[in-house]
């Protein structure tokens, strides 16, 4: 304790005496040298300048980005009403189509009148189709195709198929068909998906259309009947299908819209069954008759007689398919009519029995009730 007190006293005296010593300062030149060396590491203003440059660059980048985004937004807003397959877009596109503003459209209007004719019977189809000028290929339609949205989808599909066939598009063997397909795709509304079928030269693409029609099933035929039944004369142009686009774009070696006798060298593909002469149209497949068939088609589900569309189909409907619900009621009724038209009343009765068991007797139309056992 004593030594601690002594140490404290000695410390106090020594430090007080030391504090009395005059203060010494380093020479100014040394201080200047030290500070200059320290400041040389961080040049004055360089940091601020770099920050200013960075902020300006960031501001410019943000401005460019904002401008680009706004531009895209405006562009998207202007394109949306055309691209959107809503029902509101259809009326806006329709008048321009009907008035035929585009030079490529007038022929399409003529094609609209023939477009919805049902397919001929298998016996008369091959002979009659090529000879009909401006004849449209039979087009299978699904019931949903009556909606503009589905029409837009068909237009897109047609456009996609056009893109997926680069050799054909490059060579453009069918300028009418391809051109109109592109025009319709550009329209994008699904209204009036017109193609070169109506404008086709006689005997050029009609055969392709017939081949496309052969590929369709009885169900498609029934759907066609439903679609046609729901469509009136004004809405007919909207009922064009992608199958028509495909059939119109199918290579036939001739121009659809071009001169009738003009052929592309090397494009005339060999066919197993050459097209019949153009000048020999069978009288049964004339235009007025097919129009009548077209008007009769919507009544396929009702009391109207069986149409050739139903007759031409190879009937895939059986009692089993009805009972296991793999066949719809409409297709089954069409099959019944087809069987009756063929004179196969036994099969028709069997089908009707199955329909009655599965769907009830009330689902059978009045004209078929007589066949019920």
């Amino acid at each position: 304790m004593t030594s601690g007190n002594e140490m404290g006293r000695d410390e106090d005296i020594a430090l007080r005496a030391y504090a009395e010593l005059p203060r010494a300062l380093p020479p100014p030149e040394i201080e200047a040298r030290v500070l200059a060396a320290a400041h040389a590491i961080n040049p004055a203003g360089s940091r601020r300048r770099s920050l200013r440059w960075t902020s300006r660059l960031a501001t410019a980048a943000v401005a460019v980005l904002a401008f680009g985004l706004s531009w895209r937004a405006i562009e998207f807003q202007t394109r949306t009403p055309i691209a959107a397959p809503d029902s509101a877009a259809a009326p806006t596109m329709r008048p321009a189509f009907e008035e035929g503003d585009s030079p490529a459209k007038p022929k399409s209007r003529a094609a609209m009148t023939d477009r919805y004719e049902p397919s001929p019977t298998p016996s008369s189809r091959d002979a009659s189709l090529p000879a009909e000028p401006g004849r449209a290929a039979p087009e299978p339609m699904s019931p949903a195709a009556n909606s503009p949205a589905t029409s837009a989808g068909a237009a897109e599909n047609a456009n996609r198929r056009e893109r997926q066939a680069p050799p054909r598009s490059a060579a453009r063997p069918f300028p009418g068909a391809t051109g109109e397909a592109e025009a319709d795709a550009e329209a994008g509304s699904g209204v009036g998906v017109t193609l070169g079928r109506g404008n086709a030269a006689p005997g050029t693409d009609a055969r392709a259309g017939a081949e496309a029609a052969e590929a369709e099933t009885a169900t498609d035929a029934a759907a066609l009947g439903t679609a046609l039944g729901a469509a009136d004369e004004e809405s007919l142009p909207t009922l064009k299908s992608a199958a028509e686009v495909q059939s119109a774009a199918r290579p036939s070696g001739r121009f659809a819209d071009g001169p009738l006798d003009k052929e592309i060298p090397g494009q005339d593909l060999p066919r197993a069954d050459p097209a019949p002469p153009l000048a020999t149209p069978p009288p049964s497949d004339s235009l007025p008759e097919r129009k009548q068939e077209s008007r009769a088609a919507p009544a396929a589900l009702g009391e109207t007689p069986v149409t050739p569309v139903d007759q031409r189909n190879v009937d895939p409907v059986s009692v089993d398919s009805i009972e296991d619900a793999s066949t719809s009621l409409e297709a089954a009724l069409i099959a019944v009519r087809a069987a009756r038209a063929r004179g196969d009343n036994e099969h028709a009765r069997a089908l009707l029995d199955a329909i009655a068991r599965m769907h009830g007797a009330r689902s059978i139309p009045q004209d078929l009730q007589t066949l019920l056992r």
Partner: protein, 227 residues
């Protein structure tokens, strides 16, 4: 006793901070403040004062002003330490400049976990030891007089000046006569206010050794002063 001890420990680092700008603008002000403000009675630092470590980090971040403040805090005690550790003023100037240049050039080797003052003193001590090995001190009465004269301030009256000169001369001679380890320990305590543990850590000895060195140094200085 205790009050004096407390005052001394608070003194040095912040003493020169507010004076750096004023010194450059008005050297007379510096002379007056130096003569009237002894080392042991420096005004205490503000509680919100930025620490050395923060200033060093700011300097590493590009702030030259932070280095200016850091330099202002430590330049005077460091220079006085070197001035009394080394035999000649020229050596102290050389070492002082070299220490600060090393601080600048080796700034990236400083770690924020290490106190800046300890890092600075370690550099200064190592550099001073190297210099001492090259030139052994020949501190005598004449060199002490020269040191006192070189650091003397203008006194108002000749009597006061003579009295201060005599007491300073005795102290300078007593300091010079101390063993190097005791002198170093005393100077670290007097200039930087380091505690026993800090001195022991810096000098690489135990805390008791540092304490005993301080005790011997105080006793010899008191004897030399005739108190």
């Amino acid at each position: 006793m205790g009050e004096a001890f407390t005052v001394i420990t608070m003194e040095t680092p912040e003493a020169s901070l507010p004076r750096l700008g004023l010194e450059r603008q008005n050297p007379a002000l510096l002379a007056n403040s130096a003569s009237t403000a002894p080392t042991g009675s420096v005004e205490p630092s503000a509680p919100s004062e930025i620490t050395d470590e923060v200033l060093m980090q700011q300097y590493l971040g590009g702030s030259n002003a932070a280095f200016d403040r850091l330099y202002a805090r430590h330049r005077q005690p460091l220079y006085r330490l070197l001035l009394r550790l080394l035999p000649r003023r020229a050596l102290a100037d050389e070492v002082f400049q070299d220490v600060w240049l090393r601080v600048v050039s080796h700034r990236s080797s400083w770690q924020p976990t290490v106190p800046f003052r300890a890092w600075l003193l370690r550099i200064a001590r190592n550099r001073a030891i190297d210099t001492l090995r090259q030139a052994r001190p020949e501190q005598s009465g004449e060199s002490a007089d020269a040191l006192i004269e070189s650091t003397a301030d203008s006194d108002p009256t000749p009597e006061v000046a003579l009295s201060r000169f005599e007491s300073a001369r005795r102290l300078e001679i007593a300091l010079a006569s101390l063993p190097e380890s005791q002198r170093e320990t005393f100077l670290l305590r007097a200039e930087f206010g380091l505690g026993h543990d800090e001195i022991a850590e810096l000098t690489g000895v135990g805390a008791e050794t540092a304490k005993s060195r301080l005790r011997y140094a105080y006793a010899r200085l008191r004897e030399a002063l005739g108190a």
